[in-house]
Amino acid sequence: MTRFVLKRCLYALGSLFILSVTIFLLIRLTGDPATLLAAPEAKEADLQAIRVQLGLDRSWAVQYVHFVGGALRGDFGTSLYYRVPAGTLYWQRLPASLQLAAVAMAISLLVGLSVGILAAVHVGRWWDSVGKLIALLGLSMPSFWLGLLLIYVFAVSLHWLPTSGRGTAAHLVMPAIALSGYFTAAHMRLTRSSMLDVLGSEYVKLARLKGVPETWVLVKHAFKNALIPVVTLAGINLVLMINVAVVVETVFAWPGIGRLLYEGIEFRDFPVVQTVVLLGGVMVIAANLTVDILYAWIDPRIRVER
C-alpha cells in the first residue's frame, strides 16, 4: 500500500509540474501584458519601463524558476492588474466560490438523485420522461442563458430576488441554480443508470424473493450501492464547480475565483491566471489522488492491478 501511495504521489507531482509548465507557456503565448497595461499610444520606452517594473523583461526560464520557487513558498507573485499579491486575491475570492459550489452541489444532488431514482423506479413512464427532459435541458442549456433568464424572471419581473452580487442568502439562489443546471442533469443521468444496474442485480432480486418490502429494497439495497459512482462523480464535480464557474460568476457579478480567472485572462494578468489554474489543478489532482487511495484501500485488487 505504501508503495502504491508513493507512486500515486509521484504521478501527482509530475502532473503538477506539467500543468505549471503548460499554463506558464500558454498564457505567455497570448501576448505582451504591457501592451494592455499601457495606453495603446504609449512609446516603446514606456512599455519597456512597465516590463522592467513587472519583471517581464527577464528570460522565460528565469521567470519560470521565479514562479515555481515563489509558489513553493506560497508566494504566487504580484497581480499585474491589481498590484496586490495574486495569492491574497485568490484566498479572498475562494470562500465565495466554495459557498456557491456547496449550494449548487446541494441543489444538484437533491434534484439529481431524487429524479434519477424516480426515473429508474418508474422506467419508461411519466417520471422517466420528466427525468429525460431535465437531463436534456440541463445538459444543453448554456449557464449564461439560464442565468440571464433567471435574472429576467425573478429579479426584474417578479422582484423576488436581488439581481447580482454577494451578501444575503437570497443572493445565492439564482447563481446556485444556474451553476447547478449541468451538474444536476449529470447526476440525474448517472443515478438513473446506476440504479437500473443495481435493480437488475442478483442480490436485489434475492432481497425481493426474501419478501423484503420494496421501499426497503430501494433504500437499503439498491440506492446505497447505486450511490458509489454518483458520489465519486459528485466529488470531482464539486472541484469543477469551485474552479470553472467563470460564466456564472461573471453574469451574477459573484466575487469568486471564476471571475478572478476571467479578469486575469482579460488583462493578461500572468500571476493571477497561473495562481488560479495551478491551485485549481492542485484541487483536482488532490481529489483524484484521494479517490485513488480510497479505492485501493477499499479494494486491494486495484493496488495489484496498477
Binding site: D32, L36, A39, A45
Partner: protein, 512 residues
C-alpha cells in the same frame, strides 16, 4: 393703544433682529447613496495617480479621489483646479504655478507646494521618461507657488503636465505617502478629491464617502458605491430593478431597452475616442490604397450616420478628422458625404471598375460589428474585405509593429491635444503611424521648436489640412457611449466634461 402699538413694534424689531443675527444657513449636507454598475473591474492600482498608465479608465475613480493642478472640466479641457493660475517664461523654459489656498486632503493635511513637487518627482506612469528628460528641476518659491524649470523650451509641457495624458499633475499628500509607502497608499489612498475611500473589496465594489471640505464645493451625495458588473445585461437588470442608479455602457439593444423604460434615461458620454480606417499599405505603389482616388472612394462609400445609429443609437458624431474637435489646436473637419455613386465613379477613374480584394479589415477588439458593417459598405463599391478578429493584446502588438496589413479599423482614445494625436498617428515616427509624408514631418518638426502658440497652431492645422487633402484616412466617428440612468438622479454627472466617458465632476451629482 399706543402701548399696544409699541409692543407690536418691539416684537417686530426682536423678530427682525433674530433673523438678521442668526447664523447664515449652511449649505445642505451631503445626503443619499448613488450606486453605479461599472462595466470594468476597478483596480486598486488606479488609486495612485503616480502609476497612471496613460489610459482614460483610471479616471473613472481618480476624478472622485484625487484632484489635479489642471484638468478637463465642464468649463474646458484645461481648467485650473489645484493650480489657480500658471505662467510661462518668455523663453518657454520656466512654468510657474500659483496654488489654490485652503485645499485640504482627506486626512486633514493642507496641500502645499511640497506636495506638488513630491507628486511630480515620485511619478512613474505613462510619459515619465519624456517628462524627466525635459524637466530639469522643480523649485518651491513659497508654500503656494512652484516653478518647473525645463532643460530647453518644450511647448508640449502643459499638454503632458496639464492634461490626463499623464498623471504627473495629480497631487498626492507627501507626508501621508512617506508614512504609509506606495503599497500602503494603494490600500488606503488619501487625496484632495471630492470623495474619500470608505471601503474596498477588490474586484467587487468600492465605497466612497463625501469629502465635505472639498475646495470647490461639498458634494451633494453622501455616499457612492461603484460595483463591478462586467455583464451588460446584468447591469441593465440592476438598473431596472432599482439596485443601481447609474449603469455605464448600456450599448446596442441594452440602450434600446433603457430608452423604452419610462423610469430610466439614456445619457450619452465620451467622444475622446475616434475611430477611423487606416490603409496600412498606402505607401506601397502596387497597392490600390496608394491611389488617393481609391481612398476617397472608400470615404464616400461609408454612411457614418447609419453606423452611429446602429452601433451607438446615433450618439457618436460622424467626423472628418481623426482628432477630436474639442482638442486644443484641432482642425474641425466635416465628414466626407455618403455618396456611393461618386464612390463608384472614383473607383472607375482610379482604374478599378470591378473593385479589388483588399484583404483583411482588422478592428480594435471588440468593435467587430462596426467592422462588418464597414466591410459591407466597401463591398457595395467593389472593395472586398474580410473581418479578422484578433485577440486584444495580439492586435495591439501587431498594430504597434505595423504588421497588420490590409485595413485597420483603428482608434485613439488618449487624452492630450492635437499634438499627441499627430505624434502617434500622422508623424512618420509615430507609434501607430503608417504615413510617410515629408511635408507632415517637416511641419511637425517645426512646430516642436516653435514657442509662439499662435504660430504653432498654424503649423499644426496645416498638418491636419494636409492629411485631409491627401485623404490619408477614412475617419468614422467620435465614439460616444449610451449609459442607463435612473430618473432618481437629478444630475448624473455624465456628459458634463467634454469627451469624458465617465461621471465627472463627482461633486455635481445629485439625487432628486
Amino acid at each position: 393703544m399706543r402701548a399696544n402699538r409699541r409692543s407690536r413694534l418691539g416684537c417686530l424689531v426682536l423678530v427682525l433682529s433674530l433673523v438678521l443675527l442668526a447664523p447664515a444657513p449652511s449649505p445642505a449636507a451631503p445626503q443619499g447613496t448613488v450606486t453605479y454598475a461599472v462595466h470594468i473591474t476597478i483596480a486598486p492600482a488606479w488609486f495612485d495617480p503616480g502609476d497612471n498608465p496613460g489610459q482614460i479608465t483610471p479616471f473613472i475613480i481618480q476624478y472622485a479621489l484625487h484632484d489635479a493642478m489642471i484638468k478637463p472640466m465642464p468649463a474646458g479641457m484645461m481648467t485650473p483646479s489645484l493650480a489657480e493660475s500658471w505662467t510661462a517664461s518668455k523663453d518657454g523654459r520656466v512654468y510657474e504655478f500659483v496654488l489654490r489656498k485652503g485645499v485640504i486632503f482627506h486626512n486633514g493635511d493642507p496641500m502645499t507646494a511640497e506636495d506638488v513637487k513630491f507628486s511630480f518627482e515620485r511619478y512613474k506612469g505613462a510619459g515619465v521618461k519624456l517628462l524627466k528628460e525635459k524637466v530639469e528641476a522643480v523649485t518651491i518659491v513659497d508654500p503656494h507657488r512652484v516653478r518647473f524649470h525645463l532643460k530647453e523650451a518644450w511647448p508640449d509641457f502643459m499638454g503632458f503636465y496639464g492634461s490626463p495624458a499623464t498623471g504627473a499633475g495629480w497631487i498626492v499628500p507627501k507626508k501621508y505617502l512617506e508614512k504609509v509607502g506606495d503599497d500602503g497608499f494603494k490600500r488606503a489612498p488619501v487625496g484632495a478629491g471630492p470623495f474619500k475611500l470608505a471601503s474596498m473589496t477588490p474586484g467587487v465594489e468600492i465605497v466612497l464617502e463625501a469629502h465635505e471640505k472639498y475646495w470647490r464645493k461639498a458634494p451633494k451625495v453622501k455616499q457612492i458605491v461603484l460595483k463591478s458588473v462586467p455583464e451588460g445585461s446584468t447591469r441593465l437588470a440592476m438598473l431596472k430593478r432599482g439596485e443601481v442608479q447609474i449603469a455605464y455602457k448600456t450599448d446596442g439593444p441594452l440602450g434600446e431597452e433603457v430608452r423604452k423604460d419610462p423610469k430610466l434615461d439614456l445619457v450619452f458620454s465620451g467622444g475622446i475616442g475616434v475611430f477611423w480606417l487606416q490603409f496600412e499599405e498606402l505607401n506601397d505603389p502596387k497597392s490600390p490604397w496608394h491611389n488617393r482616388k481609391v481612398r476617397l472612394a472608400a470615404n464616400h462609400a461609408i454612411d457614418r450616420k447609419a453606423l452611429s445609429e446602429a452601433e451607438t443609437l446615433g450618439a457618436s458624431p460622424p467626423t472628418g478628422s481623426i482628432i477630436p474637435r474639442e482638442f486644443e489646436w484641432a482642425l474641425p473637419v466635416d465628414p466626407v458625404a455618403y455618396d456611393p455613386k461618386k464612390a463608384k465613379q472614383l473607383m472607375v477613374e482610379a482604374g478599378y471598375p470591378n473593385g479589388f480584394d483588399a484583404g483583411f479589415i482588422t478592428p480594435i477588439p471588440p468593435y467587430y460589428s462596426l467592422a462588418e458593417a464597414i466591410g459591407g459598405y466597401l463591398g457595395a463599391i467593389g472593395i472586398k474585405t474580410k473581418v479578422r478578429k484578433m485577440e486584444r493584446a495580439v492586435m495591439f502588438d501587431k498594430r504597434r509593429k505595423k504588421e497588420l496589413g490590409g485595413i485597420c479599423l483603428c482608434g485613439n482614445g488618449g487624452f492630450g491635444n492635437a499634438v499627441t494625436r499627430i505624434d502617434a498617428d500622422m508623424w512618420s515616427g509615430g507609434v501607430h503611424s503608417v504615413l510617410k509624408d515629408a511635408e507632415i514631418d517637416k511641419l511637425f518638426d517645426e512646430q516642436g521648436r516653435e514657442a509662439d502658440p499662435k504660430k504653432r497652431e498654424v503649423l499644426l492645422k496645416r498638418i491636419q489640412q494636409r492629411v485631409v487633402d491627401q485623404t490619408y484616412f477614412a475617419p468614422i466617428f467620435q465614439l460616444q457611449w449610451p449609459n442607463g440612468v435612473s430618473k432618481a438622479m437629478k444630475v448624473s454627472g455624465m456628459g458634463l466634461i467634454p469627451t469624458f466617458y465617465y461621471t465627472g465632476p463627482f461633486e455635481e451629482i445629485e439625487l432628486r
